[in-house]
Symmetry: C2
Subunit: 480 residues, 2 copies
């Protein structure tokens, strides 16, 4: 078995052949930390989290770097306009680095809440100024970049491959630039590597040109990925909107620095709302905080996993609601299986093996999470049939629970080791419920069925159902 993935660079599915056998080096472009993440950010990072988890599950040793952009990302994503963080700092009357700190922590908290595995390194752009200056100086020395008024631009005429990732011709690119702006660039398609900073600019560093400047947005990822993953690494990922200019600019620089750079480029598609891209700049966003509070972080995760990472997903409240109930079905069947588990369960891998095969086939085929989820729901039906039997085969219960915990848990990250209601019930509620069950038994022993029915009805309103077993009575949450 091998993993096939869609390489944006070749525009085709390729078999994954790592640079170093059984190792995966992964770099994903992280957020610019100047505002609350919205649901669109979650799509990118959840997608790559599942990809990472699948590699780990397949016994690859992973090394995952995801940067934080805390300087140099300008408002219009091209080379004009104010730095996003400086703009926010000015509006909030705060230190730029306090803005970056606040939103970085906020972002990292949300990623934790969504159950994302933490990257091995989360390097910051401001933490790699010498490395960026070093790369830029080399590009100038080699003739791929030039200085104008203390700013350094990459000269795209020196790199004919420019635009190959996004598959754009120079004419395509021209149409995207603002020709009316007077520019110091030689060619409107040239992009900034370093910008001259006036003395009043709040984030600036010494440079060998006009004295002080700050990095452009496109160099940080080149130097940080290769610093930590080596000149040649496996996968470079990010949102689809980063293909151009960001990733094409990275490729141009890495090529001219004679770095083999990323072997595979992977892009997660957009999240739309009413068919339009969800973006801070468009003002049509749902914050991730709100989505997590309203539906729960795992429902958000489910909503993203329910579509392929290369598909566009349209947001609607209904879609989140249905993600939440689908998730609850998975949790319920897992909970029911776990209640039946013997002590020290050891899966024998004899039952439901074809579900496992189909699941891996789906994941091996460019991480097709929708198909993988479909397999989980087929398995849910089988598991419910098993559970409805009077004395379910315990080996089958153990095997089924193992599959939900690995495929739905370890890989998709949707089924935690301890399920919500198991915790909610808690030690004390269970003790009080034992008392209630005792009292009901007393009433029934005294043939006071009015009172015992009163207990059953009252519990039902609370959302608790009693189930009389042979010896004991159990209670569980009803699905309301």
């Amino acid at each position: 078995m091998s993993i096939k993935l869609y390489n944006s660079l070749s525009q085709s599915k390729e078999e994954f052949m790592p640079v170093h056998p059984k190792h995966v080096s992964l770099y994903v472009c992280g957020p610019t930390v100047y505002s609350e993440p919205h649901l669109g950010h979650a799509k990118t990072y959840i997608s790559f989290d599942i990809i990472l988890r699948y590699f780990q599950f397949c016994d690859y040793k992973t090394f995952y770097v995801q940067n934080i952009t805390d300087v140099g990302h300008l408002v219009d994503d091209l080379d004009e306009g104010e730095d996003k963080i400086l703009k926010k700092a000015r509006e909030a009357n705060q230190e730029p680095m306090a803005i970056a700190e606040y939103y970085a922590r906020n972002y990292l908290d949300l990623m934790d809440e969504l159950g994302l595995k933490r990257p091995d390194i989360t390097p910051r752009a401001t933490g790699h100024i010498p490395e960026q200056l070093d790369a830029i100086k080399k590009l100038v020395e080699k003739g791929y970049a030039y200085e104008v008024n203390g700013s350094i631009y990459f000269d795209v005429s020196q790199y004919p491959g420019y635009g190959k990732l996004s598959n754009r011709t120079p004419e395509d690119m021209m149409s995207g630039t603002r020709v009316e702006t007077r520019s110091e660039k030689r060619n409107p398609n040239d992009f900034a590597l370093w910008k001259y900073a006036e003395p009043e600019h709040l984030m600036r560093w010494e440079d060998p040109w006009r004295g002080q400047g700050y990095p452009g947005w496109h160099t940080e990822c080149v130097v940080m990925s290769t610093k930590y993953l080596g000149d040649s690494f496996d996968i470079h990922g990010g949102g689809m909107d980063l293909k151009f200019p960001h990733h094409d600019c990275e490729i141009a620089q890495a090529h001219c620095l004679e770095q083999a750079f990323a072997k595979y480029w992977m892009h997660s598609n957009m999240l739309t709302i009413n068919g339009q891209k969800m973006a801070k700049s468009l003002g049509n966003f749902i914050t991730l905080r709100n989505a997590c509070d309203q539906y729960g972080p795992l429902a958000v995760r489910y909503f993203i996993a329910a579509s392929h990472y290369r598909s566009v997903v349209d947001y609607s409240e209904a879609a989140l609601h249905s993600a939440k109930s689908a998730l609850q079905r998975l949790h319920q069947v897992t909970r029911n299986l776990r209640q039946k588990l013997p002590e020290n369960p050891k899966p024998k891998h004899q039952h439901f093996q074809k579900f496992q095969e189909h699941f891996y086939q789906a994941m091996d085929d460019d991480f097709s999470t929708p198909q993988a989820l479909a397999v989980l729901f087929d398995l849910t039906k089988e598991a419910n049939t098993l559970l409805s039997e009077k004395e379910p085969n315990l080996d089958a219960v153990v095997d089924a629970e193992y599959l939900f915990s690995t495929m739905g848990g370890s890989i998709l990250g949707l089924i935690p080791e301890t399920l919500e209601e198991e915790t909610k019930a808690g030690e004390h509620l269970d003790q009080v419920m034992q008392l209630v069950i005792d009292l009901r038994k007393r009433f029934r022993n005294n043939k006071d069925y009015e009172s015992s029915d009163y207990i059953r009805d009252s519990l039902h309103e609370i959302g608790i159902q009693l189930k009389d077993g042979k010896e004991e009575t159990f209670w569980h949450w009803t699905n309301k």
Copy 2:
């Protein structure tokens, strides 16, 4: 009213006069991120958290910077030995920056768990290499530092004030250095600002001397504090063990860079275990993770707050246990007060005013948290007397609850807005308890006292007590 604090520099209590009225700029030396924090770290950061909270409560606008050391802190704290992070990375066979990332996140998680207010900026040493190089170059130009074999040392003979914070003479210092080591320094007391790095050294940056090097431990805090707080700022804090050499080295550099630097120096004292300093290097430490798991983060907080920040605190299990029960008393009285609160309670500040005054007097006097806690316990007695009355004065209840929530909550951080058991009880347990209370009423109406007593006794075993009011029956947790 004014705040007096002990300035380590003058070795006396001084009235706090901020650089800018009603503003406090605070820099506290953060951790070197190469291992699990132990209880000794908590003492430093909890102490400064309470100091910060008190300033905020007194309407100061605070700006708090706490660094993270991720390079340059050598094993023996002087200028010899391996970099602590590199050593750990070598042992764990991992990237040094992955080690720093892991332990930084781990540290920040624990600080969140302890309820510490997050610093406004958490700058990293590796994120400020250009700034450090800039300062070091200036010191060389001014003749305060010299180069040997690509390393730069501060020349203490050029700064006669060296050692003034720790009150050491050059002879005192000499006794602490290892004279037997062959050294390239001119004077054994000179300290490293920058160290030459062999090509195989994993963390190194370009420098203007022998090509590549890495910063010493003592320059980062000078450049990061002044970069974000200005050349002249209010308070520089840290653990007592940082006085020498770290803080004396900082003062020397800042002086020679003509920076006014910190106006007040504050040092929290050591945590000992059987009278010996708790330290990673001594191997006699309790990890903060274990302490939080075993006693709860707020009990750890209480244990630290129960002593003055300038006192040595000796760790023992008994001390943590008694901290936990003292904390529970504070929580219990607050919980009882909160249960009696009317809707939309508005404190009138008429009752218990002398407790508030005494609390502020204690805090104004160099943040005397033990005295402040004593006031809270005096208030606890008064509040319990109030609560034992048949119809307690509601204005008094509101005022008392306000005092526990502000003094014990906002300032000391010991009483959260929502108390643990209030959450543990939760919506569902309360609903089930209402059913149990209903059932007991049924039994009593039917004069079945055996069954109603059975309910009371069973609940008592669970740790729940019933209290019959005029109209209704309430339940609360017993203190077991």
